[in-house]
């Protein structure tokens, strides 16, 4: 066993660092570090920067604009981007639809859609969950009925992240009500400009807007927009959910959040001394640091293909990764004590800052990140997956 990175891997790390130092503006990095909402231009700008370097979709095959990186290089890239406070790329096109098309799409779908994901011409969002179909996704009811060369879609999707910026949506729809529920689901691509679609924003607990409801009324979509065969959607969805979870441990992001927490604890005071010197609070930080260190190794073991029980390892990482991140968010909020109170848009009143600028969104981020253990298959569903694998039923 050798837990060191090879010289080639270290050289790669340096290359990533140099790129980030050169291309990531201090202004954007500060916004990410301070936990501020990124606007559309921020996200599109960073997308274009990565694209021009050829690093936008590292997991795609080279012929479609990806890289030849192995999983350790991917990990190094993620880690360095998080450390530099680069924005995370929007995953719906790059991490979800892209891999689905590469695996299941026609040559024409690949040729027309993949380049437009990379160029940023298309912004994809996800139409999976419905009001009555969350953890029990297979109970989805949005209907697509064949009509000549089209499908006509009726129904409602919800929790569509960043739908407000998207021009396209990929959906799971019901194309059959016979047999097993899972066998009547299809995966279809929809242009959001199509008549009959309405998107409504959902305001979240901390006051932000990032998810939406999408309503479909007699929406006519060409049958050529289906990915894979009719009623094959569940297979695609399962493939995609596996993909969605590969970086869900978020080791890089949690490491950066932890170092920010430590910096904050050294800066704010309790009883006349830095909070970091308070044994109770220091113990809390040390505990989460221990958990994160273990998860870093678990993640690397999985990446190296050593860890067994492939299916449930990603579920385990999702549970542990989100719980650790939430614990760091919790401490980052607590470190502010009374100063965590102001509404995030009001952290500076006139010329008077209340909490330190880099921490003013800590309470809002704590509340927002309660979503981590709910979305992408809630932690309860992940436990079901592990339990099923453990007990075989």
């Amino acid at each position: 066993m050798d837990l060191n990175f090879t010289p080639e891997e270290e050289a790669f790390r340096q290359e990533v660092r140099d790129f980030l130092k050169d291309k990531l503006s201090e202004e954007l990095a500060t916004k990410v570090r301070n936990g501020r909402d990124l606007n559309r231009a921020d996200m599109e700008g960073w997308h274009a920067t990565l694209n021009s370097r050829g690093w936008l979709a590292p997991g795609w095959p080279v012929e479609h604009g990806g890289t030849t990186w192995d999983s350790v290089q991917m990990h190094i890239f993620e880690e360095e981007c998080a450390r530099a406070n680069a924005p995370r790329t929007v995953p719906f096109g790059l991490g979800m639809l892209g891999p689905v098309l590469i695996k299941f799409g026609t040559e024409e779908q690949k040729a027309t859609i993949l380049p437009r994901i990379l160029s940023g011409e298309d912004w994809w969002c996800q139409g999976y969950s419905e009001p009555g179909a969350g953890s029990d996704l297979a109970s989805l009811k949005t209907r697509a009925i064949r009509d000549g060369d089209d499908y006509i879609i009726n129904g409602q999707k919800t929790w569509t992240t960043l739908g407000q910026f998207a021009n396209k949506i990929f959906c799971l729809v019901r194309t059959s009500t016979e047999g097993k529920r899972q066998e009547g689901i299809s995966f279809i691509l929809v242009d959001l400009d199509t008549p009959g679609i309405e998107m409504r924003p959902i305001k979240l607990i901390e006051g932000g807007f990032e998810v939406n409801e999408v309503f479909f009324t007699d929406v006519r979509v060409p049958a050529a927009n289906m990915v894979g065969e009719e009623n094959m959607g569940w297979t695609i969805a399962k493939y995609l959910l596996g993909h969605e979870r590969t970086n869900i441990a978020g080791v890089g992001a949690s490491s950066e959040a932890l170092s920010q927490l430590k910096a904050l604890a050294r800066k704010v005071k309790r009883k006349g001394k830095p909070l970091a010197q308070d044994p109770i609070f220091a113990a809390r930080i040390a505990e989460v640091e221990i958990d994160l260190e273990a998860m870093r190794m678990t993640n690397l073991r999985m990446l190296s293909g050593v860890a067994d029980a492939q299916g449930s390892v990603s579920s385990m990482l999702k549970i542990k990764g989100t719980v650790i991140r939430q614990a760091i968010n919790d401490l980052s909020r607590r470190a502010l004590g009374a100063l965590a109170a102001p509404f995030p848009s009001e952290d500076v009143i006139g010329n008077y800052a209340i909490a330190p600028a880099e921490a003013a969104s800590n309470a809002a981020n704590y509340f927002n990140n309660r979503k981590l253990s709910i979305f992408g298959g809630s932690n309860e569903i992940q436990r079901n997956i592990i339990a099923k694998e453990t007990f075989g039923a």
Partner: protein
């Protein structure tokens, strides 16, 4: 021993519960809590008319209550409605005015004619009376107070400040004489930054350390009771949701994994209620050390229970629990942010460690 409330307290609790249920539904609550003045003057006047402020003051000082259990009776109901009115700031101000014989001001506050807030925290010294730096010069104050609860709507600010002798005193500033910067808090309701620059002040007491500590403890007991009220409501909301939400062809309440989690947090709510009763009793004990220990123990447990209940309630609601539109998300926020007021779980633990006999010699 008798754990049942007196007839008077039952009446005040019932009438406050009815009033808030009718007059402060969640839609109105959210409008007031996050917009405009973060306070509804008409409703405040009605609360005063109901006698809610008088219930926080003893008969000797012009009210008709003032005991620990009067405070918990009022604040449990405030918590059930997560009412954003500045009751906490006025409670602490009333305790301080009472401790220093300010009958006229107390009368005006009880009548709803005036409002006051207690300005103690400073951004470099929150939760630490020893570090208070706002200074007294002649009959003026200079410095800044941060996150003053109810400072947005107060007519008078009671300011903890340090005189040249180093004593921690209490001074009254008319809000009009200070620079008051109001804002909403993340869980709703108003606070303010108070900027004092040779601002005219009336000395209430040159050495007010003991009365300030007592007022803060009364505030902590109030927050504990508020949390108990909010937890009772969010528990019912969560139970109802689990019974109503269908997934996998059945109500999710039938999944034992979820049942046990609701049971676990229900147990913590009962513990929280019990320790709040204990602290409320000690508030009137006349023994400052016993009072401070019981209050710190209560607020520590409340902080832990509140976090468990808030986080579990959101998690068990799934995406719905994450939305602004769902009332439960505002209860969850309130429960989390109560821990940030008047000293959090860790602060209370430090106090409890220092006041308990844990580290006495063998």
């Amino acid at each position: 021993m008798d754990f049942s409330p007196t007839e008077d307290r039952r009446m005040i609790g019932d009438s406050l519960r009815r009033y808030l249920a009718e007059q402060y539904p969640i839609e109105h609550r959210n409008k007031v809590a996050y917009d405009g003045e973060f306070h509804d003057p008409a409703k405040w006047a009605e609360l005063a008319e109901l006698g809610i402020l008088g219930a926080l003051v003893s008969e000797d000082d012009g009210g008709f209550g003032g005991a620990g259990f009067d405070i918990t009776t009022v604040f449990e109901e405030m918590g059930r409605a997560i009412c954003p009115e500045p009751m906490l700031g006025n409670l602490m101000a009333l305790r301080l005015y009472a401790a220093h014989g300010q009958a006229e001001r107390i009368e005006a506050i009880i009548a709803g004619a005036e409002k006051a807030a207690f300005a103690f925290d400073e951004s470099d010294a929150f939760g630490d009376l020893d570090e208070i730096a706002v200074k007294v010069e002649g009959d003026t104050l200079t410095g800044r107070k941060t996150v003053v609860y109810g400072g947005n709507s107060a007519d008078f600010l009671l300011v903890a400040a340090r005189s040249a002798t180093g004593a921690l005193g209490l001074y009254e500033v008319a809000a009009n004489d200070a620079e008051v910067l109001p804002y909403a808090m993340i869980d709703g309701a108003g606070a303010a930054e108070i900027i004092l620059d040779k601002t005219k002040a009336r000395c209430i007491a040159e050495d007010a350390r003991a009365s300030i500590e007592a007022a803060l403890d009364a505030g902590r007991v109030a927050l504990c009771a508020e949390a108990v009220g909010a937890m009772d409501v969010i528990k019912v909301m969560t139970k109802d949701y689990l019974m109503q939400r269908q997934q996998f062809g059945r109500p999710i309440a039938l999944f034992q994994a979820l049942q046990h989690r609701l049971v676990d947090f229900s147990i913590e709510i009962e513990q929280a209620r019990s320790i709040t009763i204990h602290a409320a009793a000690k508030l009137d004990s006349g023994d400052p050390k016993a009072r401070a220990l019981a209050v710190a123990q209560a607020k520590n447990l409340i902080g832990r229970a509140g976090k468990l209940v808030a986080e579990e309630a959101v998690q068990m609601h799934g995406g719905i629990g994450m939305t602004w539109e769902y009332a439960g998300s505002h209860y969850a926020k309130r429960l989390i942010m109560i821990d940030h007021q008047l000293g959090d779980t860790e602060d209370q633990l430090r106090t409890a460690m220092s006041l308990s006999d844990i580290s006495e010699p063998a």
